[in-house]
Symmetry: C2
Subunit: 295 residues, 2 copies
């Protein structure tokens, strides 16, 4: 297997198109196309699904994962040998939107001091980042899945606490005998995969389920709750002064859901990966709850 060919594959997947990959590699699009064809004829399998953007086939995902591991090791060997002082290794990592919006800031500050690594963050639901690891799209992921993906090690980072909040006006509009009318008060969800609000409603026997708005962005979700569009489960880390200044209120004094987060990363003897792991760990120690979650 040829490293140039593997590099063409990662460039196509990272950049999305053959043209962009060619630009990135500083070669012609037809050279990129020839490298992929060479890979495909050597394997006897299609590795890239041509589309906008291009994506790896099942066989391509296996190759991609190997390619990224080799590229990471190659870059580290080069810098150990002092033969490559200037180029940066791109390290793809999956994070969930709420983590990025809250406790990951110290991780970003650490990463800013690394002169040999750039970050390629993928924002993905914590429940769904395992497939990015499996596909070889990322080398590490913050996930809510404690089951290790093959070839990865996993460690518990801590828990993120979500609390049910709304504007005082919305709460007052849907008070029924002193407590919220869960079946009627509109709710905001992050996306169709987000079941935090659903779990909370189910525990309170809400039937039918209330009208729901969908706002798939952390800052947008917060803005929607602040605008009074609906109530939502917000990370306590994201509330800032909102409870103190009264712009938002807790809908239940003790109500909360804790989501355990894990760090999964390839079992690869890599200095850069170890450094990323350490930085994620340090940020988690500062920002996450360490006790076991109790929903």
């Amino acid at each position: 297997m040829n490293l140039e060919h593997l590099r063409a594959l990662t460039a196509i997947i990272d950049e999305g198109t053959f043209e962009a990959a060619a630009y990135e590699l500083g070669v012609s699009p037809s050279a990129v196309s020839q490298r992929i064809k060479a890979l495909e004829s050597a394997l006897g399998q299609v590795v890239v699904r041509r589309g906008t953007p291009c994506s790896p086939t099942a066989a391509g995902a296996v190759l991609l994962r190997m390619a990224r591991q080799v590229q990471l090791l190659e870059a580290e060997t080069r810098s150990l040998l002092g033969s490559d002082g200037t180029s940066m290794t791109v390290t793809p990592v999956a994070v969930n939107a709420d983590s990025l919006a809250t406790w990951l800031a110290p991780f970003l500050r650490d990463a800013a001091t690394w002169t040999d690594t750039t970050l390629d963050l993928h924002v993905e639901d914590q429940d769904h980042s395992s497939h990015l690891l499996r596909q070889g799209a990322v080398i590490g992921a913050i996930t809510s899945d404690p089951a290790a993906v093959g070839g990865c090690r996993v460690e518990h980072l801590g828990a993120m606490r979500y609390v049910p909040v709304a504007t005082p006006a919305l709460r007052d509009r849907f008070l029924a005998g002193g407590s919220p009318d869960w079946a009627a008060m509109p709710v905001v969800q992050f996306n169709a995969k987000d079941d935090l609000q659903h779990r909370f409603l189910r525990d309170r026997g809400a039937d039918p389920l209330p009208p729901r708005h969908t706002v798939p962005s952390s800052e947008g979700f917060l803005a929607a709750v602040r605008a009074g569009l609906g109530w939502g489960m917000l990370p306590e880390l994201q509330l800032g002064e909102a409870l103190v200044d009264g712009s938002l209120v807790l809908l239940e004094p003790e109500g909360h859901l804790d989501v355990d987060l894990y760090w999964q990363a390839w079992t690869l003897d890599s200095v850069r990966l170890a450094r990323i792991t350490e930085a994620v760990r340090a940020a988690a120690r500062q920002g996450l709850r360490s006790e076991a979650a109790a929903g």
Copy 2:
């Protein structure tokens, strides 16, 4: 064509799976499956690509678009007839992340007062939301594409101004003769499709291109620039007090790029769609620059 069948199609696409669609419609998964098979045998074409999540085929997208239009009109007819005072119409709308993070707050506050509509926001790059309109996934979109999608009307909303900023420490580290060393100072990009930083660098003749980090979330992008990971083009609306308190600095006093934004929506005589259009317009008048953009 049967409305029940069309409703099964929209539910599958919105919820992602046959099971979730069944739950949403309050019927069994096999009933959902039968409705889709009925649609497919009537058309002689596959309409749903089975997967996780399910997606519409080309034929399915055409149906989906019709289905959403019919459902919107049906809901309005019902509420005019007073026969459906309680149910809410789900209105899918595409917005770009930066708009949602900044000038759309008044739109959300307006939407919070509508008792017959819930929002289903899709966060998509302003350059790439046209295909959501074409697919029938949304009924309106904030886009940077002034060319009307077939069956849609388009209007100019205003321009969003992006300015090049960094932490003072990062700027000082990469000063070369009084101005930034654009070829060396690391840059943050939103994702592979984001070319704002590239355009800015190209205009300044940066060669080679500097190391780049990828952070695909508005608040994450801001956090990364604040952490000193790299410089970036930030919406002036998102800077808050950062320039005043000195935590971020402008890299060029006059440097900026303006991105024109447009509202595209179906040409459909719908009260709800007209109300959404009016609310988007009002928020844009408050938050966007009205003069023609000059990069």
